[in-house]
Symmetry: C2
């Protein structure tokens, strides 16, 4: 079984490649829920939905979130009625949030609800929220503390960030399912997601770092930083705010405590020795994920790296 820690749009794209590299049933995604938000009274789990829609082949290619070809009549009406509408929900997408909210209200855990939703979309990989407890990513900015969605969607990550914290993380518990997936995985892959706001919340759940350290699996991360810049989103800014350089070595430093191998882009081949100096293996690959084949190939590199941990640094 392959476990993938994931969040954000990069993680959703990466998982599309993983299920083309191995049978989908062998894949478990452990998904960030720090971005979850109650909006219009509905429980929204943006990262779970992106992974779910991505694996179902329904994720909007143009937007990178929501359902391909969705309409926005409800949202437009909300806007006409003077409601805040910066957080966009499509009409078909609404069905997911309405169903999730109803199931959560009936007393089911987010883990159980996610399994039901994923099954209804025909997704045969396992999707696990990082926790069933509430952990909220809070972004301390020059303009006060914002929720992640306020920072990312409303402010379009233009406001300078001082620090990110995960409210509720101290008392959150990892689920049995997440701990088991980590303990029993053959390879654990950290998707090319934002290390601070996508993977950070997962690692902030007490017990998950320990589980990663003690798991016998090889742990392979893909750097979301290419040539000193985030491929998309504010990962570079947030890494710097947290005292890490916005480089592949910075990514290595964040994960080094439990990581075996960091997959970096060919563009960063010169940094291999720097990563090796941190005690990690470095593998160079094409990390841009600009086609379905590229996604699959990147996933295959990660899995090969995880399975052949005795091999030296490879230039694939």
């Amino acid at each position: 079984m392959i476990a993938v820690l994931t969040g954000g749009t990069g993680g959703a794209k990466f998982l599309q490649g993983v299920v083309r590299a191995v049978p989908p049933r062998q894949v478990t995604a452990i998904v960030n829920t720090g971005d979850d938000v109650v909006w219009w009274g509905l429980n929204i789990s943006p990262d779970i939905d992106s992974v779910m829609y991505g694996l179902a082949g329904l994720l909007s290619r143009e937007r990178g979130w929501g359902l391909e070809g969705d309409t926005f009549a409800c949202l437009e009406h909300m806007r006409e009625l003077g409601e805040p509408s910066w957080f966009q929900l499509g009409d078909r997408d609404l069905a997911t949030h309405v169903r999730r909210t109803g199931m959560l209200r009936s007393g089911k855990t987010l883990t159980a609800v996610t399994a039901e939703l994923a099954a209804s979309f025909g997704v045969s990989s396992r999707l696990l929220p990082m926790t069933d407890d509430r952990v909220e990513t809070r972004v301390l900015t020059a303009r006060g503390e914002l929720s992640f969605q306020e920072y990312f969607v409303r402010e379009k990550w233009k406001v300078p960030v001082r620090k990110v914290r995960f409210a509720g993380a101290e008392t959150a518990r990892p689920t049995f399912e997440v701990l088991r997936a980590i303990a029993s995985a053959e390879v654990i892959v950290i998707a090319p997601s934002n290390p601070i706001t996508s993977i950070g919340p997962i690692l902030a759940v007490p017990g998950i770092r320990e589980a990663l350290r003690s798991s016998p699996a090889q742990k392979v991360a893909v750097s979301p930083i290419i040539s000193g810049k985030a491929f998309s989103g504010p990962a570079d800014q947030l890494m710097v705010a947290h005292g890490f350089p916005a480089t592949v070595a910075g990514v290595a430093a964040i994960y080094r405590e439990f990581l075996s191998t960091l997959v970096i882009d060919h563009a960063d081949a010169a940094s291999v020795s720097e990563i090796e100096a941190l005690g990690l293996r470095a593998v160079c690959a094409s990390t841009l994920m600009n086609s379905e084949d590229a996604k699959r190939d990147l996933a295959a590199v990660c899995l090969a790296a995880g399975r052949s941990h005795t091999r030296a640094a490879t230039n694939l």
Copy 2:
């Protein structure tokens, strides 16, 4: 001030005429909430919405419920995902239910929520739910007890009815706003709504019958029965199930305790004496509401009848 007791699609159409006969600000609608339902986890108040959309000029003419020109992408997706979809909600309509649900969850009363929603639709008449408490219309049928929506929408009122009851009515309280509207109205009109399932729940709220009896206003009802048949819906069947003939005299008998005048269709002119024998005045009019002018004219007849209570039975 004119108070109108209303429910169902007939009531919504009637109110469209009332606000063309008198300034909208002088109109208060006291609306049935016995049909309210929690669907997809959302608080739906179908009768309030029909009145609200009707007064805003947004009610679908074709369907008689929901918003004109609405789309159903969310509903279609729900259906694809295997969710029950017999109760139909449009995409733009969803905005209303999402907003209502959020406001109710924040602790506001249905009265306050309805006022906010109506204001956002530019409705200047007052819309009052009959109570802020939960009263649920339950329909005992040959196939067990159903909610009103199950009976009316899912079963298309084809299943024989034994009795209708209003669960929760015993402990419900009328709101201050409803009691004040009844006490201070110049004329109180009972819309041509189903007497059992649209007006019945309002009258079942303890204190409302007494308030109607003691109000100095003239009380004028419009018969929803024409020539022994309901113009639309199951009013005739339900009246019979409750021991009333499905005639204008049956309508008079249901309301006689507090009614001054019953407006009946010209087609029932022969029944005037039967109504007068019950101690009520009868006024004949065109009650079909098959045009905007017809709606306004019917409302004008009701208001004239309420204001000229000394006049004898008139054939307008």
